[in-house]
């Protein structure tokens, strides 16, 4: 991958904690202090009950593969074919990512396979949460 060309996120006041956490190698989610709903993407209120009382917490980084495509289209910073995946985090929320460190094939990318977050530094300030097959699935 030619990382310098990849489209990079520009944090906003509401999302800055997530990207600062990612740069430290931490996957941060939020949880509602009132209804206990864990959610993503970041925002300073609970999307389920509208409470403004919410807390940031560090997720385990464990996830499973919910769905994906293997893109054969040219994209800046990517070498096709590559996976564009949606993973389900152990804490419940889902997020888009790339599954890396395994062949980019339907045979290697099995739905529900266990994954572990792996941060990939893409600029001085920014690291992206990617996912790789976890030990259990590799064995």
């Amino acid at each position: 991958m030619t990382q310098s060309q990849r489209s990079l996120p520009r944090p906003t006041p509401e999302t800055r904690h997530f990207w600062e956490g990612a740069a430290r190698g931490e996957l941060l989610l939020q949880r509602c202090d009132d209804c206990r709903h864990a959610y993503f993407p970041p925002r300073p209120f609970c999307p389920r009950c509208a409470s403004r009382s919410v807390s940031v917490f560090r997720a385990s980084g464990r996830a499973s593969l919910y769905s994906y495509v293997i893109s054969h289209r040219p994209a800046p910073g990517f070498e096709p074919p590559y996976s564009i995946a949606v993973v389900e985090l152990e804490e419940g929320p889902r997020m888009m990512t790339n599954v890396v460190d395994c062949p980019q094939t339907p045979e290697a990318l099995r739905l529900d396979m266990p994954l572990q977050v792996k941060f990939e530094r893409v600029s001085d300030q920014c690291a992206l949460p990617l996912f790789r097959p976890s030990e259990e699935s590799a064995s």
């Binding site: 996120p9 495509v69 893109s71 289209r73 564009i84 995946a85 949606v86 997020m95 888009m96 739905l111």
Partner: protein, 380 residues
């Protein structure tokens, strides 16, 4: 809106379709609008309500010389026009205006005078989807289908059959872009775009547009064309980024829009003679058939493979050939509406004999929005 209180009295597409290198996007709007006005026997000065998407309605209304008393710029992707029809019906019923023009024009292929803006890197999509190599709808809209396939056992062959069946319909339409018959093997042997989607399971990229004219039932009798009556409508939205769609095997927006449309029309599924389901990609008719309630969950792949939606089937669907074979400008919903109107007027190239009720179902912004319109050539 009471069923049958509002009618579509003008409908037309752009003069050309597919590749139109000599018209800009705003002129595609105008070309479609002038054709629809001529179809209705009206002039721009007769229009007092205006709606369009992507472009601001101010720009198109002014370009056409229209002075609106009511405008709607709802822009939620390719089904925006279904929502415009619904909103226009409410506006006419409320007395805000009498005669509404809805336009679509898009230089999707030639890219002349395009309106679309890139996704900003500080937007939600720019932060949480774009960095992972998204390159347009083929890499977003398609992501849910593997989960659907695992859940219900939908096969690659069934997914390919959607494209094969729609090509059969396209073969009956002189204006369709792709008209040669195709096969499951040919579809599955095509260029891979985003696994599991091959080239012909993805929509065309076309230049074109269309326009509609709506008015009240009282006035509809005075127009040159046979009125097409609105029976019921529905709309809803869900997540604008695909990763946050609640369930990858079903669309909440489809279910809500569809149920609203059927309930307000006071019809059941057995009453439907003709169906349009916005098919930007081959899985959409499958989700649509299930979420609108025509078949049970997980049954749509087999339903299509058993030729129920094909020529001669009991539920003729996407009879223009759809976005896969007819044309797809980027916001295809207007073309689906045009085909429903043609079927209700009895003027479709692949006319369904005796069709009286058409359901036209749209999707927009991936699975972010949905609109459903039920129309008929018989006033209830």
């Amino acid at each position: 809106m009471k069923p049958g209180s509002i009618a579509i009295v003008g409908a037309a597409e752009t003069t050309g379709l597919g590749v139109i290198p000599d018209l800009s996007e705003i002129q595609l709007h105008a070309d479609a609008a002038l054709n629809a006005l001529a179809d209705a026997g009206l002039k721009p000065s007769d229009i007092d309500g205006f709606a369009t998407a992507e472009y601001r309605p101010t720009a198109i209304a002014n370009y056409l010389g229209i002075t609106p008393k009511w405008v709607d710029g709802t822009s939620v992707g390719g089904c925006s026009f279904m929502l415009h029809v619904r909103h226009a019906a409410a506006a006419i019923a409320a007395g805000y205006c009498t005669t509404v023009l809805i336009t679509h024009g898009e230089s999707g292929r030639s890219g002349i005078g395009r309106q679309r803006a890139p996704t900003p890197p500080d937007s939600i999509a720019g932060q949480f989807e774009m960095p992972f190599g998204i390159s347009g709808p083929p890499t977003m809209f398609t992501i849910p289908v593997l989960r659907y396939m695992k859940t219900f056992g939908l096969t690659q062959e069934q997914l390919a059959t959607v494209a094969v069946v729609q090509r059969e319909w396209a073969g009956r339409n002189p204006r369709a872009t792709l008209r040669e018959p195709t096969t499951v093997d040919e579809v599955l042997g095509g260029k891979m775009i985003a696994y599991p989607f091959r080239l012909r399971q993805c929509c065309l990229v076309s230049d074109g547009g269309g326009a509609l004219v709506l008015t009240s039932a009282e006035r509809a009798k005075d127009f040159p064309q046979r009125p097409v009556w609105l029976l019921g409508t529905g709309e809803s939205t869900e997540s604008p980024i695909i990763s946050q769609m609640a369930d990858f095997t079903t669309s909440r927006a489809f279910r809500i829009a569809g149920a609203s449309a059927f309930a307000s029309a006071g019809i059941g599924h057995a009453d439907v003679d003709h169906l349009m389901i916005y098919d930007a990609f081959a899985h959409l008719p499958i989700y649509g058939l299930e979420d609108l309630g025509f078949v049970g969950r997980g049954e749509a792949g087999a339903f299509i493979a058993e030729r129920n939606t094909a020529p001669g089937g009991r539920l003729p669907t996407n009879t223009n050939g759809g976005g896969l074979s007819y044309a797809h400008s980027g916001m295809y919903g207007m073309f689906a509406l045009q085909e429903s109107v043609r079927q209700m007027r009895g003027t479709a190239p692949a006319q369904v004999p005796g069709a009286k009720v058409s359901v036209c179902h749209g999707v927009g912004g991936m699975f972010a929005a949905s609109g459903t319109i039920v129309m008929s050539n018989e006033r209830p």
